[in-house]
Chain length 340, copies 2
Amino acid sequence: VQTLRIALVGFGVVGQSLAKLFLLKEQEFANVYGMKPNVICIIDRNGLAMDDKGLNLRGILEKKRRTGTVGRSKGEKPNAVIIKSTDADVLVETTPTNFKSGEPGLSHIKAAFQAKMSVVTANKGPLAVAFQALMELARHNNVFLRFSGAVGGGTPILDFGKSCSRGDTLIGIEGILNSTTNFILTNMERQNLSFEEALKSAQKHGYAEADPSLDIDGFDSAVKLVIIVNYLTKRAFTVRDVKITGIREVSIADVQRARDKGKAIRLIASANERLSVEPRLIDRDDPMCVSGPYNAVKFFCKNSGEKVIVGKGAGGMETASSIIRDMLEIRDLLAGRGLT
Amino acid sequence: VQTLRIALVGFGVVGQSLAKLFLLKEQEFANVYGMKPNVICIIDRNGLAMDDKGLNLRGILEKKRRTGTVGRSKGEKPNAVIIKSTDADVLVETTPTNFKSGEPGLSHIKAAFQAKMSVVTANKGPLAVAFQALMELARHNNVFLRFSGAVGGGTPILDFGKSCSRGDTLIGIEGILNSTTNFILTNMERQNLSFEEALKSAQKHGYAEADPSLDIDGFDSAVKLVIIVNYLTKRAFTVRDVKITGIREVSIADVQRARDKGKAIRLIASANERLSVEPRLIDRDDPMCVSGPYNAVKFFCKNSGEKVIVGKGAGGMETASSIIRDMLEIRDLLAGRGLT
């Protein structure tokens, strides 16, 4: 059984879910994958827990629950300095997303690469701001960057797109990439609500943020589209390349008219000659036409036709599962290279 | 650029589509994958074409079109003997499916393994009859067996299932695995046809065989379910373990009653505590509820929830694309082992 030394920065819902999965799956990891994940460092907003021999995750989860932080105060040291001082193989980055600066995630990821650590992140911020720069920095330092959890929560959209395009030519992508807007549009349809009423209901059910603009104005979908396209086609698009229209202007009359024609309005992110995010009329029979808090992505392949993947867009456990998938892949890549 | 020596046995729609893709994608294979597929042997029902330096595929496709066969007569030699005499790295098996004996595919695959060749097949017959025996024989001879095209045509159902279960626990599978029956049920629904009328229409459109019983009585779905489950869970089920009910008894009244309740009748293959194939009532909003000649499979994962994959179930080019994906995987596996 091979030990993988792990540092976590960010210990919110996703980080804690990951720690719980490590505890739950200790036996399975050893038996099925021959791997022992050993968390040697956790950094959260205010605190730091570190032990080169491996932290007691049960104790730390309990401490976080009781005190709101994982350990003693970090003092003045920047996180990047702490990250570089650890001897981890992989950094898992799950701090809050900032689409403008990418920080603090961006500095964390760069610090890890400079210290020759691979990175798994579920944080869209750094990827939105500096996708190609980060990919290049990883290559330059001979380490790996994976980010399944940043797009589609637990649904392996990136893996699936790669598998679809292998040996075939990807000629287009369309998808519903934001489950909050899909929840809202579905409720306008099902319960005859106006946009404002459906938004309030989504907020009440915990599906929309207090400030929902990143979702409903299409920005979150655009960022995910850019990540998917850059990853699968090795391009260097940014969100500024996406023509974005959100769902604020969708009226109850629009939704009803669509329904009467056997169609539905969905916020569709699409990439063919150009990149766009906009509300569109689609057939109810289209496999991409999901209802409720789901994501759906359709890949158009030259020889093998259209393929669609559908799954829940978010959730702590779902995203933590994606992080584990990415970690296992990085473990295999490192092993193939003979470095561990 | 690495050469992969290939033998084809079976040269119907799928085999010819594969040859066309090899011609079309020669540059792409070299540039993107560093691979040159070199077909050194093609066996069809009556003929044989062989050239250790590589066959002229354009000429052979033309000859097949003109004369119905690929080359000179095979004489008395069994295919298994011819296969063993070639120096191929990979055998591609696409002869007609026989669910009872698995032949002739079964003998072809065994011969290849004995000669230390890996195999890619789109033929469900041998897998239905001897799945675990074949997997074991491949391991024993230190070669690989892949069969994406046998389940779902061009849709990477097996890859997707593997990706879903990696680092998570697969707790159930449900799916629409036969596009012919789905085409029939959809047309009963949309055009108010009886089962017999919808079946005739499917036959007219080329979606159903002259003898459609393997599809409509559920056997084809059961075989695919067994292949998926055995592959993903390393079990050794056979079709006899599946409780099978087909769609012959579905009446126009059943279909209309379902529609009036916002539901639909679909032939669902399912694996949880037990394996079954039967017509079931499902929600129209269920992402698995596809209409027309599609396949859809839902994987239930313990931590990351439900995920669905949808794609066209069949077609020569689609299946040939799956064969290419499998070949690329085998090339990587052989390369990782340092044998080529």
